[in-house]
Symmetry: C2
Subunit: 359 residues, 2 copies
């Protein structure tokens, strides 16, 4: 992919987005009829009923099924860390990749519980990496967005298509429930920038403490984002401009995996703040991709719920988490499966001899 020109990459992205179509309303209607025949007050299972319909609409069937589940964890580094925006040193990115390879990170634990696989892709870590990950590095981290564009447009397109490619490989191998995940010291900074731009929010409202910076660090983080806006002047009407100037390589790959999931008609669970920044980019590139997104948790990051709301997504989990890696999404897999169990296994009013509503 590195040999392709910007025009060739853009044509690939165009093909991908052209394949993103609407949900199947006929399947959704059939599932609604079935849900209303089950022994419960109509609509009383709330989001579980919504999820059952969403899955049917995506899979174009009144009897959606989940085969295999995978968390697509995208790793990248961020030049902006030189502004002092993170509580952890940048070396933690590769260290955490190795922790994930050896199965000891939070996402390994939660994916194992969910019966899901984790695949980690190096989209742009700044240190040499070897071992059992997908090696698709576009650059050795982004450049410092406070001093110029984080990436070239060419790099942003490459990273987007890395995400799409990884998702496509997994979908071809039979995975039909995906989740996004992120890893990268400093990545709440570009994510906050993207969220601020698309929710039109002042930085005080959407820039948080990430992994736990102190007040001085928080001030530096806001300043770095303000500097990035001033020097780069990102154009919110051009998502590739936003992504390349104030985004991240792993954020681009997350957006790409979402677009591929939507094009392949596979649901994708959106993890926390960084993943939602990726989802915002995906939604701006192809608004129809939103219908293929499943929200997971509401993060502690102050901009997260606002960003989800701007996509019309309401998180199902309220766990005050702020870890990333796909941890909230992995827990959500269970709830998606709950929705399908309900659809498939509950008895109907007629079968059970239960009286229906009287008024």
């Amino acid at each position: 992919m590195k040999n392709l020109t910007e025009e060739q990459l853009y044509a690939q992205l165009q093909t991908l987005t052209t394949n993103i179509l609407d949900l199947d309303e006929e399947a959704i209607s059939q599932i609604q009829v079935r849900l209303d025949s089950l022994t419960k007050p109509q609509g009383s299972l709330g989001q579980l009923e919504h999820l059952a319909k969403q899955l049917g609409g995506i899979q174009r069937t009144s009897n959606p099924k989940i085969q295999k589940k995978v968390v697509l964890l995208m790793a990248g580094d961020h030049g902006v860390v030189e502004e002092g925006v993170s509580a952890f040193p940048q070396e933690v990115t590769p260290q955490m990749v190795y922790n994930i390879i050896s199965g000891g990170a939070a996402i390994n634990v939660l994916a194992r519980q969910a019966g899901a696989e984790v695949v980690c892709t190096d989209v742009g870590v700044a240190f040499p990496l070897e071992g059992n990950i997908i090696h698709k590095r576009v650059a050795d981290g982004t450049r410092n967005m406070a001093k110029g564009p984080a990436m070239s447009r060419h790099e942003a397109l490459q990273a987007l298509l890395v995400g799409a490619e990884v998702a496509e490989e997994k979908i071809r191998a039979g995975y039909n429930l995906l989740a996004t995940g992120d890893l990268g010291i400093g990545n709440t900074t570009p994510s906050s920038a993207i969220v601020a731009l698309y929710t039109k929010s002042p930085l005080e409202e959407v820039v948080g403490r990430g992994t736990g910076i102190d007040d001085a660090g928080l001030a530096k983080k806001r300043q770095a984002i303000q500097d990035a806006f001033n020097i780069n002047q990102p154009n919110i009407h051009d998502p590739l401009d936003v992504l390349s100037k104030v985004g991240g390589l792993e954020i681009a790959a997350i957006a790409g995996s979402i677009l591929q999931a939507a094009a392949s008609r596979v649901p994708i669970v959106i993890d926390g703040f960084i993943s939602t920044a990726g989802a915002l980019i995906a939604a701006k590139i192809a608004p129809k991709s939103i219908a293929f997104m499943i929200p997971s948790h509401g993060s502690v990051e102050p901009g997260h719920r606002k960003a989800l709301a701007s996509l019309g997504l309401d998180p199902v989990l309220n766990l005050n988490m702020r870890l990333g890696e796909g941890t909230g999404a992995a827990i959500t897999f269970y709830i998606v499966e709950s929705a399908l169990h309900i659809l498939q296994e509950m008895s109907t009013f007629a079968d059970a001899g239960v009286s229906e509503k009287s008024q």
Copy 2:
């Protein structure tokens, strides 16, 4: 138990509440140290970390474990349905009990997914019932609280102790994670009454549509509760007075199962609105029982989140559900297990060679 006098029953309740002690702070501290050594920013797993500590504090160990899980579903009928407060006829209570016996209700499906058992207890259904349930009927439903006390104080005590007895049997059989569940047409009406009293809220704020009544039904429901307050004058400083005058038999049993769980040092997941009314009664009888409660979901019922907040509980699930039966609690079992997987399986900074926070 029916042969015991009110004084004898009260003495049993006193013994139960005397056995409810504080969480083990030493175990909680040990778990905090362990959590802070794991490869994640401190506190970044939010409620999962809280749950791990709560379980350790309850079980008095730095290595809490879950053996078997059970949903204690309490069924009862409500005389107040003659005021037209419910969208479903009262016959649905026994019909749904049979649906649960045959495994087709929502709670069966979700408990099966969670690897949990469901036991249904007839605390006070108004129709004859046979089959594989626990038969401990105190009365054939409550009386119409809009016209007088729903129960005698003697009946309320009996129903409380039925709940305690059922919980104790299960705990003795090795179940060490419990959940509350309710079944009973009309039971959002007494629950709303209890919530209004203890959260000192106007009825407009805490009386909702239950299984789905229309505007006329909602007006009748509010009026019935107002009438019940006027005629019964429940004393909020005496939880048994509130429970007997405007409560329900299954609500009493839920409160009793919570008190028994706390006395036996077993965590209990609180389901939705009706269960939370039971939790309020338990908390008023023995405030220390709150530490043994695990919140599950925030219901659509308008008073639910307010009632949870008054107990200091923040729901982990946001599913817009309003079904009861223990459905939200059964899903929460999975999240409780997530917390223990994290505690037991994640690698530490030292083991994984990951650098710690730099500022």
